[in-house]
Symmetry: C2
Subunit: 306 residues, 2 copies
């Protein structure tokens, strides 16, 4: 079951209270692919400029990441520079340089257009729609978005919502999109606008899966050290979609397990700068952490004495 992600392939410069990194591999498609590839092979569609350290992407190819759908354009790669607050709870964008991303129009190479599982990373909803037009017979399509598109491309975003199976956003985005500060009403609003499921990421508080009449919550992994939240949401998406592709099933039970795999990948992501949190992580490590996650919310049966 081919898994496809379309999104940014970027170079990130990140400042946190614990250190900084310059021009590190980043972007939604990269964070997604690194996480997903621990569970299932993944094809990436995106664009890089002629300054991109392509050999670093190539080094990741043996994880099962197919970068052949990444276009090489003339110009500068997409760059993002950001700074986090002392407690990593908020961040400020210092600089965004779109570079070759400004003229990006995703074209699915042969093979990618037959993908059954599709994740549309946070890019212009017009481009996300253009990807959907090219996918021939998807089983499950999910998309991300952000405040910028909610404000500037609302109509296109609403068209997109009618065509995806699931929206995956953070709580602030869900509130802004729906105009409702109550996160459960916001989730219902989204369900009323197309997707049958919505995942609302809540950072250190975990994530919610909302379906009609039923919700599921996964907490964040209890980490005593968090270094860099950048890309955690995309890693969550990668774990979520990678698990579904591996399971070849999108029924509600599998979606719930996918949430745990998503949260697991999010926990690795924040443990190092850029994609470094995944260094040395094996599938066995993942399965072990998934089991610890399940224990984290397990309510034992224990009836009171008569």
């Amino acid at each position: 079951m081919t898994l496809l992600v379309v999104g940014s392939v970027a170079l990130d410069s990140i400042f946190t209270p614990f250190g900084s990194t310059a021009d590190a591999l980043g972007g939604s498609a990269v964070h997604f692919a690194v996480a997903a590839s621990l569970l299932h092979p993944v094809k990436v569609v995106g664009v890089v400029g002629d300054d991109y350290p392509v050999h670093e992407l190539d080094r990741l190819a043996d994880r099962g990441i197919d970068w052949s759908g990444v276009e090489h354009a003339t110009g500068e790669s997409f760059r993002w520079k950001g700074k986090y607050s002392y407690d990593l709870q908020s961040r400020e964008t210092l600089e965004t340089r779109l570079g070759v991303f400004a003229d990006f129009s995703p074209k699915l190479p042969p093979g990618a257009d037959h993908a059954r599982m599709v994740f549309l990373g946070n890019i212009d909803p017009v481009l996300q729609l253009r990807v959907l037009d090219q996918v021939k017979s998807p089983v499950f399509c999910a998309c991300d978005t952000m405040n910028y598109w909610i404000q500037s491309k609302r109509e296109d975003l609403l068209k997109l919502l009618e065509r995806v199976d699931m929206l995956m956003v953070n709580d602030g985005e869900a509130r802004e999109l729906s105009g409702d500060w109550n996160i459960h009403r916001a989730g219902r609003w989204i369900l009323e606008h197309g997707p049958k499921r919505v995942v609302i990421k809540q950072g250190e508080y975990g994530a919610l899966l909302i379906e009609a009449g039923r919700s599921f919550h996964v907490p964040a992994y209890p980490l005593e050290e968090v270094f860099d939240p950048t890309g955690a949401g995309d890693a969550f998406a990668g774990g979520f979609m990678g698990y579904l592709a591996r399971a070849q099933d999108v029924d509600t039970n599998y979606l719930r397990r996918a949430m745990v795999y998503g949260a697991t990948m999010g926990s690795y992501s924040v443990s190092g700068f850029g994609i470094r949190g995944f260094e040395g992580v094996t599938r066995d490590d993942v399965e072990q952490r998934v089991r610890r996650f399940v224990d984290l919310t397990h309510v034992p049966v224990a009836e009171p004495r008569p």
Copy 2:
């Protein structure tokens, strides 16, 4: 197994975006007792002034709340006036009038001093210690506190921590007490200062139970309408302790279930002003909501296809 709570019996005036209430029954001991009594009889020790609507307390007596340990003093009852922000995420204290509470020194009446389960609501740690001195053979003692005592009575609070089995605070209090913004390190700091368990309440994000080497998380109930967060933490404590008293067991499995009962009571508490969220709630309702809570985090076993 006698359950005792010592705390404030107050009159609250609360302003929220959804309405307001004046001189409503409130205070930590009242919120605790109303919730706990759905699960187990509870004895209350506190103080009221000669202006308190005692008949309203009496009306609650048939729930199994024993108010006979509430002292009647001459003067004004404890009053709190507060205002919540539009999203109920923050609140401002408009007025605190201690009244007869200023000279309160808890004296346990016969019967209460044999309590096996004790909850020390958020009062001066010196008074909390004085209660512990009077309890003859407790099985499980838990306490709450707040930023005011953390700042002004730190030494007494640290003495108290050495003598309780569990601290139950919100995330801001845990951070302030430990001086650590990471909630899991903060929890560990607390465990290193006495109690074997700590519960960290996180409002709309649920609550964490931290024990040495193991954590448990319960989310908040997915409510589309929240009216008044006042007393939700005390109702959580009431559900938690009421369940343990009923179960007659404080092993880790029971503590986990107690977390779910706590979260359940918290969800009723926020659904109405003051204690009104509990009006008409039966033990059957509670058990039904507990089952829905268990489903909210249930991770089904579902192995991927070969």
